[in-house]
Amino acid sequence: MSERSRIGVVFDKARADGRALLVGCMPAGFPTVEGSIAAMKTMIAAGVDVIELEIPYSDPVMDGPVIQRASGIALAGGVRTRDALRIVEEVAATGAPVAAMTYWNPIEQYGVDAFARDLAAAGGTGMVTPDLIPDEADEWLAASDAYGLDRTFLVAPSSTDERLAMTVAHCRGFVYATALMGVTGARAQISQAAPVLVSRVRAVTDLPVGVGLGVGTGAQAAAVAGYADAVIVGSALIRCLLDAPDQESGLSALRAVSAELAEGVRNPTP
């Protein structure tokens, strides 16, 4: 493993405090560029520790209906990759770590090296890549090294031990454990597969492990915080804005859900 990443320091502090981090996901440009900046700042103010900024993509195969709709709204509004970088810059200025989450094609079209350079310059910490596996990531491995960015690849319950070790070895910053086999979206029950997967990851790395897919309530966040270093939440936050009749009520719902989740990660269920 190379030098401690910026996000690693934040994880260290949370570990010392006996709690997990709350990672909140929001598509760039949803519902508008300014609206998404307001949403992310609201989340941070309400206790979200890390922003995972999703770059909207036309064909998000890992995402369920909520993120699909939000991404669609952002794209229909004309958001560009360079707008996403500007949003990273504004939100990172709050001091909270901002990681980009993106399907691969937008990065490939921007230019992998150019995107890494601009993301680093904007103050982003790294990238979460849901449809890029280390096997295809040579360019990204080089660019992330060159610009000191974190690389978060996903591991899944179906990953073999061999693949899990290989994938984790290519991660820097934190590892993303997909709690269940399926797409994003809040669920009534968090999968039993998640704790097993986290312990498999822990067997091969000291890197922090974030768990995502399905978390929606404070109680679920507390339960996941009992065994993971970060709780990753997307759809439950995004839905606040989708369901709201206007921006003000959307942001206030977002503030409430963020606070509930933040309370959860600060009180891990043993």
Binding site: P106, E108, Q109, L132, L154, S158, T178, M181, G182, V183
Partner: protein
């Protein structure tokens, strides 16, 4: 040359990780990798298993009706200025080349012990073929179809339901084939333990492009032997339409090591590539990643997929199989666009000269044949022999064509 000798050089592609040069590979969620590995291993083992191959061959012969005829179309030839031989995949059970792919993949599904298949479909041809194989193999079957397509292809929706499949209209995105494919991928990620994704063309992540190619390559193997028998020589050119690319690869493969045989793929030029309303991914797109593979894609500067347009639902897809992208880059095959109007003119010509109603997809290959025949004759200094992959029949297109030609009685 023996069939085995022919198979050897092609077997080098893709490489072990599914790359055709800079194309192909796997751009998928990690959750799918284990299933793709399992599928790749099952495919390799099956292809080496004589019993599997014998069972596949028997199904193709006794159930699907292959080898399909190679028919010399004399009256069409006279109009084309070439000796035109039609590979009659339209005569196969379910009416297209697609039955070869679904039978092969259904056999693989059974071999892997899976009980459920899912598929995406545009016009409904692949959905009907999948539902057919699922009925034959007693598999549960769910077909994803864009809502726009379920409405314009209601008859095929009814066919799938008669065969026992569940048809799920997809209401997100552009509500067409590309979104049906996204939805099938989402289902697969969630149900990969007991489900096989029976993909409809030679696209998607490794191993799909090579697996589909292997199941449809009988088209070319048959055509090669039939052409030698009929004419005593190899053809001067092979022509096929290219949507995702399965029928074209199926007929190309037996000829890739015969440099004198020119390979032409005809993409859907829609209203013309210059108008932006087309589905010509190679001639009008650029390299990118879509649906798990790196290939030519219709996309904007930010890598967002653009909607495709074609009168032919089966060609209306903004990507193309990675092997075609590579055959284009290496120059081994030539890809050209054919507009809706050119395809429909060729459609009408085949109806009137041969009494054969082609699929509108296949009409693109016929139109392309008319376009290259003169060039080839000039280059060779004699009448060229061209084998056209007549990939499917036009029953499904009667309504579209009837409207296009304005020959439907008004109610």
């Amino acid at each position: 040359m023996s069939a085995d000798a022919l198979a050897a050089p092609a077997a080098q592609f893709p490489d072990a990780a599914g790359h055709f040069g800079r194309f192909g590979g796997r751009f998928v969620p990690e959750a799918l990798v284990a299933a793709l590995d399992e599928l790749g291993a099952a495919h390799r083992a099956a292809m080496a298993d004589e019993q599997f191959r014998a069972e596949f061959d028997a199904l193709l012969r006794d159930y699907a009706g292959t080898p399909s005829l190679l028919y010399e179309a004399h009256r069409f030839s006279a109009r084309a200025g070439a000796r035109v031989l039609l590979k009659r995949e339209d005569l196969n059970h379910t009416g297209a080349h697609k039955v070869r792919n679904v039978l092969g993949q259904a056999l693989l599904t059974r071999r892997m012990g899976k009980k459920r298949v899912i598929a995406e479909t545009g016009a409904g041809q692949h959905g009907v073929a999948t539902a057919t194989a699922a009925a034959l193999f007693d598999l549960d079957c769910v077909v994803y179809m864009g809502q726009v397509d379920t409405e314009r292809q209601a008859l095929n929706v009814a066919r799938m339901r008669m065969l026992g499949a569940t048809v799920v209209p997809v209401t997100n995105g552009s509500r067409t084939l590309k979104d049906a494919m996204n939805e099938a991928m989402r289902d697969w990620v969630a149900n990969v333990d007991d489900t096989h994704y029976l993909i409809g063309t030679a696209a998607g992540p490794d191993p799909f492009p090579r697996l589909v190619r292997d199941f449809v390559r009988g088209i070319g193997d048959e055509a090669r032997a039939q052409c030698l028998e009929l004419t005593g020589a190899l053809p001067d050119a092979i022509t096929a339409c290219v949507g995702g690319g399965s029928n074209a690869l199926g007929i190309f493969h037996a000829f890739t090591d015969d440099p004198q045989v020119r390979l032409y793929g005809f993409e859907a030029g829609g209203e013309g590539v210059a108008t932006g309303r087309h589905a010509a991914s190679i001639t009008g797109g650029s390299a990118g990643v879509l649906h798990g593979t790196r290939t030519y894609v219709l996309q904007d500067a930010d890598g967002q997929t653009q909607e495709s347009h074609s009168i032919s639902a089966g060609l209306d897809y903004p990507g193309v199989g990675p092997e075609h992208a590579w055959l284009h880059d290496t120059g081994r095959a030539s890809y050209r666009p054919v507009t809706d109007a050119e395809a429909m003119a060729a459609f009408e010509l085949l109806c009137r000269t041969e009494g054969i109603i082609p699929a509108i997809e296949s009409a693109h290959a016929l139109a392309g044949t008319l376009a290259v025949a003169g060039e080839l004759a000039a280059e060779l200094g004699r009448q060229p022999t061209i084998v056209v992959n007549l990939s499917g029949r036009g029953d499904k297109d009667v309504h579209t064509a009837g409207e296009y030609f304005g020959i439907l009685d008004k109610e």
